[in-house]
């Protein structure tokens, strides 16, 4: 372990956290100790962790403020649902269907990310934020008009209404405009969600710690200096943006296949902001922080249900308190002192040996 670089050690700690999280809850689930309220949230937690980690790649590592991350999630969600419906009777095992659907969701979102990224990444700062915001809204409105059905002849797509799909009598409408996808068969499982979290973490952490990752960070820190060193700015920015979009698409497919229905309205501006809140609270550029923030902030509103009407008020107060405390010098000093004490004790113990 000692020979591992700091970044590699960090990566392994992240995998460890995910695995411990998985083991603890899996054991509690199998023992029936977990309340249904909590067990119902395991897959959403994993989804939001992936969303937060992938957005952190754009916001933290690449340094671009993106406000349309939920748009990629919805592209992944709906393409994943279409894929899952198409292969429902073709592919036997449900885990394989889920894996294929997630893959298609990720690919579609990556394509969307490329198309959006080419014009958008030429912009900087506020302009980029505004255009990504618009992108999320456009995706939502396009999906509101999208009708997809499947029958024995294959896929039918219409932008007008369900009647104009012209399907045979046995056809199934998969996506029904603003009503979204209905009658999805639930195939997401907790294990598959954790595996997806690990895969996404593996890809993103390796990207961040690679040569390309250093290039991306160099562009974030000083674009002109990076350019003068011969770094292709567009290429590396696109790399971060598209990988992030693909991860969001995978998360979207996982999310959609956990519920029997998803609607385009779900993936609106508010959801994008929610994910941005995870990233900011967890620490911009800090993957572990955003993982933990996503998990805690997903569970928090449910834990506050006993406060009824004041629930969201308390939620907001908690957010503000966390923001203040993490940026407070005194709080940081106190944490540092605790760290020092622990270290000193460790050192003493080692000296004893």
């Amino acid at each position: 372990m000692r020979k591992l670089s700091k970044s590699a050690r960090n990566s392994f700690i992240n995998y460890g956290i995910v695995l411990v999280f998985f083991l603890v809850f899996q054991i509690m689930l199998s023992m029936g100790k977990l309340s249904s309220s909590f067990s119902g949230q395991l897959i959403p937690i994993c989804t939001y962790v992936i969303m937060a980690v992938s957005l952190n790649l754009v916001v933290g590592i690449s340094g671009e403020l993106s406000l349309g991350h939920a748009g990629f999630m919805s592209v992944g969600a709906f393409s994943g649902v279409v894929m899952a419906s198409c292969i429902q009777n073709v592919v036997g095992p449900s885990w394989l269907r889920l894996a294929l659907s997630i893959l298609v969701g990720a690919l579609c979102a990556a394509v969307a990310g490329t198309i959006i990224g080419i014009p958008v990444l030429r912009l900087r700062g506020d302009y980029l934020a505004i255009v990504t915001l618009a992108f999320g809204e456009i995706i939502k409105n396009v999906l509101n008009c999208l009708y997809v059905g499947v029958d024995s002849h294959g896929l039918h797509i219409s932008m007008k209404d369900a009647v104009s799909l012209g399907m045979e009598a046995d056809g199934i409408t998969i996506i029904n405009g603003p009503m979204g996808a209905l009658g999805i068969r639930k195939i997401s499982t907790f294990i598959s969600a954790v595996v997806l979290v690990l895969i996404v973490l593996f890809i993103i952490q390796n990207l961040v710690n690679s040569r390309s990752g250093r290039a991306i960070k160099a562009i974030r820190d000083n674009r002109i200096a990076a350019e003068s060193c011969g770094i292709n700015v567009m290429k590396y920015k696109m790399m971060a943006f598209v990988v992030s979009a693909a991860a969001a698409g995978a998360a979207g497919a996982l999310y959609a296949l956990n519920y029997s229905t998803v609607v385009p309205k779900k993936f609106d501006f508010n959801t994008s902001i929610l994910i941005l809140v995870f990233v900011v609270l967890g620490g911009i550029g800090n993957l572990r922080g955003s993982m933990i923030a996503a998990a805690v902030l997903t569970v928090l509103p449910e834990m506050l249900r006993q406060f009824q009407d004041y629930r969201m008020l308390i939620y907001a107060v908690v957010l503000i308190l966390v923001m203040i405390l993490t940026n407070n010098r005194r709080a940081k000093d106190a944490l540092g002192r605790i760290k020092d004490t622990v270290f000193r004790r460790n050192r003493l113990q080692e000296a004893d040996k």
Binding site: M1, R2, R9, I13, G16, I17, V20, F21, V24, F25, M28, G32, L34, S35, S36, S37, F38, S39, G40, Q41, P44, N141, N144, C145, D161, A162, V163, G177, P178, M179, G180, L182, G183, K186, Y259, S260, T261, V262, V263, P264, K265, K266, I292, A295, V296, V299, P301, E302, M303, R305, Q306, Q308, D309, M312, K339, V342, F343, N346, R347, E350
Partner: protein, 433 residues
């Protein structure tokens, strides 16, 4: 090494705190209740097939319960799921208050049978709604009134179907809510019912030569009604000259849609939308001096109590609605009085639906108790209660007289049978047609 140790320590501490929170979320009381619930379930599992027989046995054992044959005893834990906050909060709160009034009345009837009500917020979101449902399950809910809105209801209904929890939705009107789920029943008309009934009504009464439709294509309710209206209109040979749409984000200017309808020469506009955008459409049509008839559905109910709306604009508007607060029968008058006293506003159709839902549950349990010589709901698992309620609701001889309809019966598919009432707005009030 030390740093690694520290990191590991922090990581485990973090995980532990998350787990601890997980325990907390259920609360200690809930946990013990949960434990009780599970033991009950296992007890019941042994006698699932003859749950009724076992209950009869229990009634015989307990002298208190054997007071009269056919009496309903115990405390029913009833969950309500609806949007209590957010954009659709109006509907969820109305259902919540309506059902609370009904529960108060039922609890006053006899101290032997009580209903405990627990309303959980779903923010009109499928994910939050499933969370709310799971929360109610932890609380020990035996049956659910909900969900109020369509999309969350579809998500919760499939969970409830897998768990075998009975659901009676006051207002989720899409067919997908009940499709393929034998444990989900609707108290409101389904969308196809409304769409085709509207088309039928317009065509039967020769209300219009040319019809225009303006609907909200970002809303499941509106699109659902439009689709069935369109199908019915085609088969009736109705001349639909203009179909235009808007979304929640563009619901503040309808001049384009109205101009198109006017140019197409429509003399009736069908509005399968909620009352807030509908009021704007009427205002703008009046300012364009476009004289046209409007026909609405139950979402239009409430337009007369809208603040700042000139009710003379709604003169002659026709709508299909199961409930009108101006009705003069005793039940409605008493309900409207109580609702106004409690909430300071005139109840909407949603409040009436919530009221009727609680009464329908009560009626179903009474019906079952009558048939089986008494029934104690205490400790009956939700799975057992679900089968009992399904057997009652699918029974054609079971009917409920409520304020949203007399003699409501249900099909085995979960749809309600009641007569749609068409009303016209005359002198700022509903009048029968």
């Amino acid at each position: 090494m030390k740093k690694k140790l520290l990191a590991m320590l922090l990581a485990t501490a973090m995980v532990c705190s998350v787990t601890a929170c997980g325990g907390d979320s259920a609360g200690t009381a809930d946990n013990s209740a949960d434990a009780g619930e599970t033991t009950e379930t296992t007890d019941d599992a042994a006698t699932t097939d003859d749950a009724a027989a076992a209950d009869d046995g229990a009634a015989d054992d307990a002298a208190a319960d054997a007071t009269g044959s056919g009496s309903l005893t115990g405390t029913l834990k009833l969950g309500v799921i609806g949007p209590l906050t957010g954009a659709a909060a109006l509907y969820g709160n109305a259902v919540d208050s309506g059902s609370a009034i009904a529960v108060e009345e039922i609890n006053a009837i006899s101290s032997d049978f009580q209903i405990e009500l627990n309303a959980q917020d779903d923010e009109h979101d499928a994910e939050k709604s499933v969370n709310a449902y799971n929360n109610l399950k932890d609380w020990g809910a035996q049956a659910i009134i909900g969900c109020v809105t369509t999309t969350p209801c579809v998500a919760v209904a499939s969970e409830a179907n897998a768990d075998r929890m009975f659901m009676l939705t006051p207002s989720a009107s899409a067919t997908d809510v009940t499709k393929g789920k034998d444990n989900v029943y609707q108290l409101c008309f389904s969308d196809p019912n409304q769409g085709s009934a509207s088309a039928q009504y317009i065509s039967d009464n020769g209300l219009a030569e040319k019809v225009a439709v303006i609907y909200n294509n970002s809303d499941a309710y509106s699109t659902g009604i439009y689709q069935t209206f369109q199908t019915a209109a085609e088969s009736l040979g109705m001349d639909v000259v203009s179909v235009t749409t808007f979304t929640d984000d563009t619901a503040n200017d309808f001049s384009v849609q109205l101009t198109e309808a006017q140019n197409a020469g429509a003399d009736l506009i069908f509005l399968p939308i909620y009352y807030t955008p509908a009021s704007l459409i009427m205002q703008q049509a009046a300012s364009m001096s476009y004289d046209v008839k409007f026909f609405g559905v139950d979402g239009m109910d409430g337009i007369l109590s809208l603040e700042g709306f000139d009710t003379s604009l709604a003169e002659g508007v026709m709508l299909l609605t199961p409930f009108s607060a101006d009705a003069t029968d005793d039940k409605t008058v008493s309900f409207v009085g109580k609702y106004q006293a409690a909430n300071g506003e005139i109840p909407s159709q949603f409040a009436a639906d919530g009221y009727d839902c609680a009464y329908a549950m009560y009626a179903a349990l009474t019906y079952y108790a009558d048939k089986n010589g008494g029934f104690n709901v205490d400790g009956v698992s939700y799975q057992d209660l679900c089968e009992i309620l399904i057997s009652v609701f699918s029974d054609p001889s079971f009917s409920v007289d409520g304020i949203t309809g007399e003699g409501m019966t249900w099909t085995a598919a979960g749809e309600v049978n009641k007569a749609p009432k068409a009303v016209v707005i005359k002198d700022g009030a509903y009048a029968g047609l």
